[in-house]
């Protein structure tokens, strides 16, 4: 299995998956079913996480395909622009959906404004992903094109021009202050995220048993904020110097561990087992194992991030 193959497999998750999740969300309004709503919100979070490798494998494919004579670069670039726009909205949708789930734990229900936000963001995402998928299809499927020449020559913008891959790359590499500033922000995001994650998981491992899991969980939005900051700055690095990351084995490991660690954050919010750990309670062995592995994964994300210039291709 190579990078294009991985991309062809994963790209269906944000495209088809989002449609299913939106359908479930709308169905949950019609049937007034909270369980259904939770499933759709959880689905958005998972899809947002999988969008990360779906996007990155696409970028890796683009790097490999750039020189191929049988691929029209213009179509590939438009597919990329649509993908950047769609991925931004997908991640925003996932973040908002997670906040809804967090609110449900805190208030017993999510606020109407938050659910509305998810609905609006997800509809934009579905449209952007459909556009992305369509343009992606045009790269290798001439049979779907009525006029292949027109497709290659199309210039209509698929996303706001300041969000195009080229514009972001130019912003990141075109000013000497941007990269260092993003690095500083990336490290502040790192400790914001890591500090909360350490606190929550060490509670499960028994470090301050007098606090209930529910009380510690209230800090988790700060970790998700740190994650959002680092996804944003991280994607700017990747767009600024794609080859530096996508052809680097350390980056592959970093993203793999990030995906698992991200799923663990979702686990902590939606599964009932950690929530059963009250003030003074010892967490069950399975929860301790989960907490220990989450810490290992976050340290691993940090390790492979720091090793990017040293393992694989040096910067």
């Amino acid at each position: 299995m190579n990078t294009p193959h991985v991309h062809l497999l994963l790209n269906h998750v944000p495209t088809v998956g989002t449609i299913i999740a939106v359908a479930l969300l709308i169905l949950s309004f019609i049937r007034k079913n909270d369980g259904l709503r939770r499933v759709s919100l959880e689905l958005f979070c998972v899809i947002a996480l999988v969008t990360l490798p779906a996007y990155l494998s696409g970028l890796g494919t683009a790097l490999q395909f750039e020189q191929r004579p049988d691929v029209v670069k213009a179509i590939m670039d438009r597919h990329h622009d649509a993908a950047v726009f769609g991925s931004i909205f997908m991640v925003l949708t996932g973040g908002a959906a997670w906040l809804c789930l967090w609110q449900q734990r805190r208030l017993g229900r999510s606020k109407a404004g938050m659910i509305g936000t998810v609905l609006v963001l997800s509809v934009v995402t579905v449209a952007a992903m459909a556009r992305t998928a369509n343009l992606g299809g045009e790269i290798r499927h001439p049979e779907i094109l009525l006029d292949p020449d027109a497709a290659a020559a199309a210039t209509a913008e698929v996303a706001p021009s300041f969000l195009s891959a080229a514009a972001i790359a130019k912003f990141v590499t075109g000013h000497t202050w941007v990269w260092p500033t993003m690095e500083a922000v990336h490290f502040i995001g790192l400790w914001l995220l890591f500090g909360v994650v350490v606190l929550v998981n060490l509670r499960m491992l028994g470090m301050m048993k007098s606090a209930s899991f529910a009380a510690v969980h209230r800090l988790l939005p700060w970790a998700v904020l740190g994650l959002g900051v680092n996804l944003t700055t991280g994607m700017m690095f990747v767009l600024g110097a794609p080859g530096q990351y996508l052809e680097n084995i350390a980056f592959f490991w970093k993203m793999g561990l990030l995906l698992l660690a991200g799923l663990d954050v979702l686990y902590l919010t939606v599964f009932d087992a950690p929530w059963a750990v009250g003030a003074g309670d010892e967490a069950p062995p399975l929860e301790k194992a989960m907490a220990a592995s989450a810490l290992v994964m976050w340290v691993g994300v940090m390790y492979f991030g720091r090793m990017l210039p040293f393992i694989g291709n040096a910067f």
């Binding site: 260092p180 400790w191 500090g195 606190l199 060490l202 700060w222 720091r306 040293f310």
Partner: protein, 164 residues
């Protein structure tokens, strides 16, 4: 300068810099990141709690994290010293390095003040926190943000040796 040069050319410093093994410069750099992530991160979480987030989380048990914080500080300081020795003539000539050291010192002094002034109170969770506690939490966050920023900028501003 002569002393710094000799320091930089010592066996240990040369191994850190040029050993060519992942356990030299790269691993020490990772230890530095792990230490700062734990120290600034857990301290930052405690600051956020003092500022009123996660109000049901009792403050008193957070005292248990202080040994972890001092341990993380030890790891960060030890790894930082090794990184400094490996690159002494450049780093000690960089104004950004001294800015960073000032903010680290302020952040550590601030942490000690949090420990005595806020966590020293045995009836911590029964009384309202004094305004000074909130002020200490804000300055703590600002000092760590400034220290992190200055630390990261050392790779870009002023004299830079090429070591990341």
């Amino acid at each position: 300068m002569d002393f710094l040069l000799r320091l930089e050319q010592s066996g240990f410093a040369t191994w850190v810099r040029e050993g060519g093994t992942i356990w030299g410069y790269p691993f020490i750099l990772f230890c530095h990141t792990l230490g700062l992530g734990t120290l600034a991160g857990v301290n930052g979480s405690i600051d956020l709690r003092i500022l009123g987030f996660a109000p049901q989380l009792p403050l008193a048990p957070l005292k248990r994290f202080f040994p972890l914080l001092w341990g993380a500080f030890a790891v960060t300081a030890a790894s930082g010293t090794a990184l400094l020795v490996a690159d002494a003539t450049t780093k000690l000539a960089s104004p950004v390095f001294y800015v960073k050291m000032v903010f680290v010192a302020l952040a550590i002094a601030n942490l000690q003040l949090l420990k005595t002034h806020v966590f020293g109170n045995p009836r911590l969770d029964e009384q309202n926190l004094p305004g000074s506690a909130r002020l200490l939490a804000v300055t703590s966050l600002l000092f760590w943000i400034a220290a992190t920023t200055a630390g990261r900028l050392m790779a870009y501003l002023g004299p830079v040796s090429g070591l990341k």
